[in-house]
Symmetry: C2
Subunit: 187 residues, 2 copies
């Protein structure tokens, strides 16, 4: 488990990822933009002239996965930055007050025993790589920002993954979600 | 569960709490200082001239407590700011890499089933009020900063509480801890 990393997702008029579509799923959308940049840690963002919007979050220790699940994930998952992963998706979500009022055991039961969130993600490994960023504790508009990378040939699998998650009981607590699809601009 | 709140603990030459003692428990201590100020949220800190040191953290949702434990805590605990609570303690701790490499179920088992962290805290309610702040995800030198408030008559009880916690298996993962005792300067 590496140290927490602050990550900024900035939309603007140039960048490493071309934005294909920004779609509201629940609640308010985000302004249209052409490109997406991902800035990690102390990486300078002053070169990006006036971003249309910025979303921030930090990577952290996992909050729900058991040792067994963590071991399975570690065996199957691949990292970000695979050259074949030409497609990306950025999905910021916010959960409602009822979710945050739940205790740890209640959140775990809904997330995994009832909704199979971790298990569903495992079904799409190693094709779909992902990284979760926490925004709520920074006072950001979204509680979580998840970044996905996958090959063009796995676009249908990615659609299936997000559809399955959105049908779960866990997702009934989501009160804002935006679905941003991108592809590599610089390859 | 209210929204996360960013809190700054600043040591300097004036403030609401007089520092009585700064003692290293494990690892490096913090520089000596006379007063402690607690600044919440966007509260302006420019009035504090050149703090000797600043520790930051955010309040957040609980990470381990079950519904049953949360309900017990809610019944027994009192808030910060009670006029009779003339004594304060600020205890920043850092946990080692082995702790952060554990999965959620392993951390929970060590924290509560083996170390009784939540149960020990309950034994000293309502006398000793506390608030936990998370610093690790902000890149702070301490993972957690806990702030305690209690009446003079409960000083011995407070000593007992910290001694019991420091004897637990959970505490074997603590690789830096400083114990700062203060009392109200302005009453």
């Amino acid at each position: 488990m590496s140290s927490p990393l602050i990550v900024k997702f900035q939309a603007g008029s140039s960048g490493a990822w071309r934005i294909e579509n920004i779609a509201p799923v629940v609640g308010e959308s985000l302004p249209a933009a052409e490109y997406l940049n991902i800035l990690e840690g102390a990486q300078d963002s002053s070169s990006v002239e006036m971003p249309k919007w910025t979303l921030r979050g930090f990577t952290s220790n996992s909050r729900y996965a058991t040792r067994e699940e963590t071991a399975l994930l570690a065996t199957r998952q691949e990292g970000l930055g695979r050259p074949k992963a030409m497609c990306g998706a950025l999905i910021p979500i916010r959960k409602n007050a009822a979710w945050w009022a739940l205790a740890q055991d209640e959140r775990r039961a809904i997330l995994e025993e009832q909704s199979r969130h971790i298990q569903i993600g495992l079904d799409y490994l190693p094709a779909i790589a992902r990284r979760l960023h926490h925004g709520r504790d920074l006072g950001e508009p979204f509680d979580f920002v998840t970044w996905f990378e996958f090959p063009v040939s796995d676009k249908a699998a990615f659609e299936e993954l997000v559809c399955r998650l959105r049908e779960t009981r866990e997702w009934s607590y989501v009160d804002r979600e935006v679905d941003i699809r991108v592809y590599r601009a610089s390859y």
